[in-house]
Symmetry: C2
Subunit: 152 residues, 2 copies
């Protein structure tokens, strides 16, 4: 079953409606490799139909997240990012607190961890939305103002 059919079906099951706006937002996410902001999605959608409003994009993103067809990432930079689930293998991210660098990491190795958390805490981890914060090798090796300067 195509992703659009899945979408339509899930909507129907819950009494939601399938609108062109929702189809367009899903299509953009489906076509996009990697993370996208709501703003970027909005621009893509306006490419097709210029009347679509950003608030509709937000509402649709909430819906798609709820249906678990996309995953939402909040990197803490004040701008959420979204990603189509199934676009690539399940993965999580490493985010450097200093330079903001983002590394994508295959999540298969976290399956054991996730299973453990499920059993131990009865909590269903969404591996796709996980972000590990810390310091990348580069920033860890070059601390800002090691002993004198504090230029940032």
């Amino acid at each position: 079953m195509s992703c659009e059919e899945t979408f339509a079906q899930q909507l129907r099951e819950r009494g939601f409606r399938l609108t062109p706006q929702r189809e367009m937002v899903l299509a953009v996410l489906h076509q996009t490799e990697g993370l996208v902001t709501a703003e970027a999605i909005h621009q893509q959608v306006r490419h097709i139909s210029s009347a679509v409003d950003i608030s509709t994009v937000y509402r649709t993103l909430d819906l798609l997240t709820e249906l678990q067809m996309i995953s939402m990432l909040d990197l803490g930079d004040g701008q959420r990012r979204y990603e189509f689930v199934g676009r690539s293998a399940l993965h999580h991210h490493l985010l450097c607190n200093r330079c903001g660098g983002l590394t994508r990491v295959d999540a298969s190795q976290l399956q054991l961890l996730s299973d453990h958390i499920q059993r131990e805490f009865n909590f269903e981890v969404d591996l796709g939305s996980m972000t590990f914060r810390g310091l990348c090798g580069n920033c860890a090796a070059n601390p800002p103002g090691g002993h004198s300067a504090h230029t940032e």
Copy 2:
């Protein structure tokens, strides 16, 4: 060495100054069990000195985070939370995407994972700031708009 002495020393080493405002913010965090928002810290501090501004609190929180004396958590609800490092054993959190429930989990079991990421990706994970998003047992068992029909 007390936490205040550590603080004073770290500031000196970097050419920063020790001000009453900074001492107060640190004291509040030191006394507080669990997560606090900047707003809550601000209120506590104003209890002592009513002239302290929230922007100073934010600037101090950035500084303390940089010095790794506190850890910053962004749960994605538009409000960051802070926590004194060493207040309790290193831990991470499980955040339910639906009900917002937060569970604190001892991080010792993640040490292996963290070591792995360090070796494999040369990335220094900050375990204390980690949040696993997903669904708590309760919400997973009671989906929203729950046509409570199928209870397999």
